[in-house]
Structure formats: structure tokens, C-alpha cells
């Protein structure tokens, strides 16, 4: 059953019920042009694939173009899927529902177009939804998984073998136009046989082969590099081996030396007390040496200081002497001053007597004028002062030698560093005391060592020392050579890392074998496909010929169809010779025969919808088609025809034994909808 809601010219809800108790598979839908016949087949295609196309329009260049029908439009000429009147009135519900049986289970497939927009949506505002309800299992599915299921039901690529449009003459003629090689037919057959999957397998094989080839190319370029690397690895191995030999020798020598050390250590253990004494003596000697060094330094410092010892000794007495002389020097200074003062006074008085008016050099006062008496007194004073000055000078002269002495003895003044010298001496005394102690200790050690063969002990110790040095040297060499080995191993592993395979030969052989295997597989695969394709071609040729013979009005003139290896189609006459110029009707029948054969080969059970079957076929052929399809097919065949092709009552009368149901489509101008009228057969 097919349910429609607001589908093109079918405004509101409508349905076609194909259920029939008769068990017959023939159905016909009659109707004049634009009554909804093609819309019915479009409805089924839309529910299956979500798309519907306009009829092909042939332009001036004879090019056919089809347009995808929009879901909504207010313009009828756009051929929208939603009924234009419903759309204009705000009823945007669009639905096609298909009830069918599949592998014994009842299914309902529904596709709807919905919108949230309350007023006049465009296709952009419309959401399509797809549902599948398995009534038998009561499971519901939607969206992508339903579409996948539909592709198993009837793959989109071969749908045209089930939706046959008699008006698309050019399309079908094109299908059989090439008589030598027909890629179109080949492709159809390949699609039916699911060749794309098989060919995908081939592509996968080729892809793997190409990968191997790429590897092979790379390997070839790597081989030279690999050889070099292999050489380097070999060199590393040789180097490692050489170093290892030296390492082993050092290891052996080291073991021997260690053994000697161990033996000597054991021997020297017996002399441990003697060694301790010897070590002690060594310590004492070292201490003594250190003290002697310190002493030498102190002796030297003392001598240096003692160079001026006489001056240091002199200082206390010198100080006393200076203290003793200093008062005399002070008197001398006073005498000097006194003489100077007397000289000035005498000079002044002499000036006054001579009536000089110069002021006094000491008090600055101008001299008083002297009378004779005064002048006499001044002369007496001068005389007295002159005597006093002479006395002072005499006294000063007598002190001159003291002054010189005082000046000279100052040269002997110096710092007194006696305390520092005493300090140095104390240090010397302390160290000398220690030295004596150490000498005693040394003597004691010597006494204890008396009778001990020190030379033997020393020799043992020396030997042990040498052996230990030897062990150290050998251990050092071992470490060094181990490091060299490690370095070589690092180099080697770097080369190995860079190496592809060993030297590439094994990989190369392996790759070659893989490529051969994959080519063998590819060959087999191609042969299988070719054989399968060829066998299918023969089968299709046989089936198409059989159909062609039952459809043609001229079985003697047109006897069979030939599908050559290039899938070119030819009509053969009764002598199996290609017909040079077959009639258009013959070509149409040949195309239908081929389509039928292809459909049969596909093993897909789906009703055949034959729209306008008599568009380019005469009445005789039409009858043959109806007879053939309605009588010999297990699947439902629905013919959609107008009165120019078939008159309903004539068809019903003539094929009453083949027809299950017939309908007539009319258009209700009041309701603006197609109406479905089941006819009584």
C-alpha cells in the first residue's frame, strides 16, 4: 500500500492499496496527463531516496536536462513536492508511506518533510525525516540506518530498471546506441553485480602492490647506503674485536697484579708494627723539618732586628740625656729673646735721644720729647741694657756646644723594639724546646726500630706501591678500553639503526615475492571479475533475447539480441546476423528487453513501475509488453498509462486474467486534488 499526504497533486490523504486476494501481479493506473501518474512513481522514489526529478526537457541541442523538484514552492511551475494549495493555505505536512513485505516481514517505510516555521517555509527551513517500522518484529529505525537498508532493498544506481519511463526514449536508446563497446551497459551490469565492491577489492590489491613497489624503490636507493653502513658495522666489529683483545690482555695482567698486591699486603701485614714506627718516625721528621723551617725564619728575623740592637739599647739613656739637656735649651731660647728685646729697647731709646719721632716698635706709642734730664736718664738706661745684653750673649755662647750636641744626639732617636725581639726569642725558645722533645721521640723510635730490617720492610712497601701503581695503570687502561668498546658499540648501533634490513638483499627478495604474490592475486581477481562479468553478459544476453522474442512483432526479422564482450548490443535477425537499421520500435523493445534482463539478473524483488509504456511503441508491442510482464513475472508490475496508450476498459477486458487491480485518476477542481478511483474489473 502507498499512502500519500499533500503529495504534489494529491492534496490531503490518499492511498493505493495493492493487496489482492487474486494472487495476480498486474496493476494499472489510468489517467489523463497531469492527473498524478508520474507523481505516484515520484512518490515511491522520494520515500526511497529523498529526491524526485522533473521530466527530462530536451533543449535545441537535443540535450536532456532534469531538475530536482523542490519540496515547497507557491509556484506550480516549480513542480514542488508539497501540494501548492496546501502550502498556500499553511498546511505544510508532507508524507509518503510505503507498506510492503520483505523476506516475510511486514514493513512500513515513511518519509516526511516537516518545518517549525509557521508561515510559508522554504526548503532551507524544512527537515526531512525517514522512519522504518518493522511491524513483524515491532522495531523502529530512523535516519542513516534506514537509508542503508533501502540501498540493500533497491540500490539507487539500478533503480531505473524498476522505474521505467516510456517517455524517456532517448535515455533508453542511448543505452543500446553503441554496438561495439557499451560502457553504460557494462557499468549497469557491474552495478547490478555489485562490481564496485569487487573492484574496490582490486583497488585495495593494487594499492598494496603500489606500497610494495614504493618500498622496493626506496629499498633499491637504500641498498647502496646499506652497503656502506654494513661496511662501517663490519669495521666497528673489527675494531671492537681488536680493542677487546687488548682489553682481555689488560684484564689478565690486572688479575696477576692484583694477586701480587694481595700477596704483598699479606706479607707486609707481618711488619705492621715496624711500619707504624717507621711512619711515626716519618711524622716526627716532618714535624722537625717544619719546626726547623719556622726556627730559621725566626732566627733570621732576630738577626735582622739585632742589627739595630745597639740603638734599642741606647734609647732609655738617650731619653734621659735629652730630658737633661732640654731645660738648658729652653734657657738658651729665653736668652735669645731677651737679647732681641734689649736690642730693640736700646735702639728705641737711642732714637728718642736723637729726636726721632718714629713710634715704638713694641708698644706703637710715639716718643715723648725729652729734656736734658730725661735724655741723661735714657743714656743711663741704654748703658745698663747694653751690659745686660753682653752678659746674656756670653751666657748664650757658653750654651752653644750644648745646642749642637742636642741637635746631633737626636739622630740616635729610634723606636725601641726590644719587646718584639724578646717575643721572637720566646717563640724561638718554645720551638727549640719542641725540637728537643721531637729529637727524644725520634731517638726512642730509633731505639725500638733497632734490630729491625727496615730495608726489607721498605722494599716490601716499595714493591707493594709499585704493584698498586701497576694495578691502577691496568685498571685505568681497562676503563679506557671499555670506553672505546662502548663508543664503537654506540657507533655500531647508530649504523644499525640507519640500516634498512641487513644489507637490503633479504628485504628485497621478500618484497619481490610479495609483489609477485599480489600480482598473482590481482590477476586471479581480474580473471574472476572478467569471467563473472562474461558469464553474466551471456546470461543477460540470453534473458534479453528471450524477452525480446516475446515482445517483438517480428520474430523472424528480429530473432535475438547479441551482447558482445564490449557489451555492445546488436539486434540479430533469424540468421543471427546483425540487423543493419532496426526500427525505432525494435530499438525500444530491445532496450526494454535489456532492462528486464538486467533487472532479472539483479535478483532484486521490487515492483516494476512502467510509466507511459506506449509512448513510442505501437499497439502490438504494447500488448506484447503487457502480456509478457503481467504473465511471466513474479513481481508486481504497475503500468501507468493514459488513454492515448491504453483504453482502460479494453485493457481490462483483454487482460482480465492477468490484472489484480486498476485505478483511474481524476482531478477534482473544487478540491484542487487528484482523486483515486478504483475500477471494477
Amino acid at each position: 500500500m502507498v499512502e500519500l499526504l499533500n503529495w504534489t497533486s494529491y492534496r490531503g490523504r490518499h492511498h493505493f492499496n495493492f493487496y489482492s486476494k487474486s494472487g495476480l501481479n498486474g496493476y494499472s493506473i489510468f489517467g489523463e496527463n497531469s492527473r498524478g501518474k508520474t507523481s505516484f512513481t515520484d512518490a515511491i522514489q522520494w520515500v526511497l531516496y529523498g529526491e524526485a526529478w522533473t521530466k527530462a526537457i530536451i533543449d535545441s541541442n537535443q540535450t536532456e536536462t532534469k531538475k530536482r523538484r523542490p519540496i515547497v514552492s507557491a509556484d506550480e511551475t516549480d513542480d514542488p513536492l508539497l501540494n501548492v494549495h496546501a502550502y498556500r493555505e499553511g498546511d505544510f505536512d508532507l508524507m509518503v508511506k510505503l507498506h510492503f513485505d520483505h523476506e516475510g516481514e511486514r514493513m512500513i517505510l515513511t518519509r516526511t518533510a516537516d518545518t517549525d516555521k509557521p508561515r510559508l517555509p522554504t526548503d532551507k527551513n524544512i527537515t526531512e525525516l525517514l522512519f522504518l517500522h518493522n511491524k513483524t518484529q515491532d522495531t523502529k529505525h530512523q535516519g542513516g540506518e534506514v537509508q542503508i537498508f533501502i540501498d540493500t532493498l533497491l540500490p539507487k544506481s539500478i533503480r531505473r530498471f524498476f522505474f521505467i519511463d516510456g517517455e524517456s526514449v532517448n535515455e533508453y536508446r542511448a543505452l543500446i546506441a553503441s554496438t561495439e563497446e557499451n560502457l553504460e551497459i557494462r557499468k549497469n551490469i557491474e552495478d547490478i553485480l555489485n562490481f564496485p565492491i569487487l573492484k574496490k577489492g582490486i583497488q585495495d590489491i593494487i594499492s598494496v602492490k603500489n606500497q610494495y613497489r614504493t618500498l622496493q624503490t626506496k629499498l633499491a636507493s637504500d641498498t647502496k647506503k646499506n652497503r656502506n653502513l654494513s661496511e662501517k658495522i663490519k669495521k666497528c666489529d673489527i675494531e671492537i674485536s681488536n680493542i677487546q683483545r687488548i682489553f682481555d690482555r689488560f684484564e689478565d695482567d690486572s688479575k696477576i697484579a692484583k694477586s701480587k698486591v694481595s700477596k704483598l699486603e699479606s706479607e707486609i701485614q707481618d711488619h705492621s708494627s715496624s711500619e707504624k714506627l717507621m711512619d711515626k718516625r716519618k711524622g716526627i721528621v716532618n714535624q722537625k723539618s717544619s719546626i726547623k723551617n719556622s726556627l730559621d725564619s725566626l732566627y733570621s728575623r732576630r738577626k735582622s732586628e739585632n742589627k739595630h740592637l745597639w740603638l734599642y739599647f741606647l734609647q732609655p739613656s738617650l731619653q734621659n740625656k735629652i730630658k737633661e739637656i732640654e731645660p738648658k735649651i729652653a734657657v738658651s731660647s729665653e736668652l735669645n729673646h731677651n737679647i732681641s728685646s734689649l736690642f730693640n729697647k736700646i735702639s728705641h731709646l737711642q732714637g728718642v735721644i736723637l729726636e726721632d719721632e718714629s713710634p715704638c716698635s713694641q708698644c706703637g706709642a710715639k716718643p715723648h720729647k725729652r729734656d736734658e734730664k730725661g735724655k741723661k736718664q735714657d743714656l743711663d738706661k741704654i748703658k745698663f741694657m747694653q751690659n745686660e745684653m753682653v752678659e746674656s750673649k756670653l751666657q748664650l755662647d757658653s750654651m752653644e756646644s750644648i745646642k749642637i750636641l742636642f741637635s746631633k744626639i737626636k739622630d740616635f732617636k729610634n723606636l725601641n723594639r726590644i719587646k718584639e725581639i724578646i717575643k721572637i726569642e720566646n717563640n724561638i725558645g718554645e720551638l727549640e724546646g719542641k725540637l728537643i722533645e721531637l729529637n727524644d721521640q725520634e731517638n726512642e723510635v730509633e731505639r725500638l726500630l733497632d734490630g729491625i730490617d727496615e730495608k726489607t720492610v721498605a722494599k716490601l712497601r716499595e714493591k707493594l706501591k709499585k704493584e698498586r701503581v701497576s694495578v691502577g695503570y691496568l685498571e685505568g687502561n681497562l676503563l679506557r678500553h671499555q670506553k672505546l668498546i662502548d663508543e664503537q658499540n654506540v657507533q655500531k648501533s647508530i649504523h644499525k639503526r640507519n640500516l634498512i634490513g641487513s644489507d637490503g638483499s633479504v628485504e628485497s627478495d621478500l618484497l619481490l615475492r610479495k609483489i609477485k604474490s599480489i600480482e598473482w592475486l590481482e590477476n586471479i581477481w581480474n580473471n574472476v571479475i572478467y569471467d563473472y562479468s562474461d558469464k553474466t553478459r551471456e546470461l543477460i544476453q540470453s534473458r534479453a533475447s528471450e524477452t525480446f522474442r516475446s515482445l517483438t512483432n517480428n520474430p523472424n526479422g528480429y530473432h535475438a539480441l547479441n551482447l558482445n564482450q564490449g557489451f555492445g548490443l546488436r539486434i540479430l535477425d533469424s540468421n543471427s546476423r546483425p540487423v543493419a537499421s532496426p526500427s525505432p520500435g525494435a530499438q525500444q523493445v530491445a532496450a526494454i528487453s535489456l532492462i528486464d534482463a538486467l533487472r532479472q539478473t539483479s535478483d532484486i524483488e521490487f515492483p516494476i513501475l512502467f510509466d507511459t509504456p506506449g509512448a513510442s511503441i505501437d499497439q502490438g508491442h504494447r500488448n506484447n509488453i503487457i502480456n509478457h510482464f503481467w504473465s511471466k513475472r513474479d513481481v508486481q508490475l504497475i503500468i501507468l498509462a493514459h488513454s492515448g496508450e491504453f483504453r482502460p476498459d479494453e485493457v481490462e477486458k483483454k487482460h482480465v486474467k492477468l490484472l489484480a487491480k486498476t485505478w483511474e485518476l481524476k482531478f477534482d477542481d473544487n478540491q484542487n486534488t487528484t482523486t483515486i478511483h478504483p475500477r471494477v474489473i
Binding site: K303, K307, W310, F313, L405, I409, I421
Partner: protein, 135 residues
Amino acid sequence: MSEKKISQIGTSLHGRKFLRSLAGRSENSGAKSDEKLGPSALFNEMKDAYRALLIYGLIKGERLPIKNNFTTIYASIGMLADNYDYHTLIKTFGTEEDLEDIGKSINEYTNWAIEDVSKKFESNNLTIEKFYKLF
């Protein structure tokens, strides 16, 4: 003014031996320091010892004539005194009489000091501290 006599600087044999000992010289080491005695000797040179003993004699002692076996150490006072004015030194700490022959005065003051110190200490027992305490 009569010309004053200036004697050479020297000492007795005993004094010389004592001075050499203080300067680390042995009988056999000549002018050089003795290897054994030298390092620990009080003085580096005989001159240093001589000066120190002269000061001791001048400050604390008196003139002691060298009776016999005078041995010259320095040909002039200058060699002993370096840049110092030993005339002033004697004049300051000696007597007027000392100035008549400064060299002789120096020799005799030093001789006294040598005799005094050598009586009190062996040359190898003498320390500066002990010496200083004599003043």
C-alpha cells in the same frame, strides 16, 4: 788645637772569639757564618754584636784597657759607625777624656762589656732578654 789620635777599632783575642761566636762564626769558618752555629746565632755580623756591646759598656760600664794581644777588627770608626756620629755618642755618654782618642775609648768600653758579659754568659746561652736585663 792639638791633633787628636784616633785608634783603630779592635779587641782582645778573647773578645774577638766572643764576638765571632755571637755572630755565628767558628774558629774555622773564617769571615763566613758557621753552618752549625750560624743559623741560630744572635747576630748576623760581628759589627752588630760589637755595637751592642759598646753601648752596654758606654752606658753601664767603664773603660777597660786591652792589656795585650790587641786585634784590629775595623781600620776606622767609620766602618763601625756607618752614618752615625760616634763622636757625639762618646761625647754625650762618655767623659771629656774619652774624646782624646775616641777609637781607644770605643775599644776599651767594648772590652769591658765583653769581659762582663762573657763572665756572666756563655756566648751560646746569651739571649737578648738576658742582655737587656743587664742595663
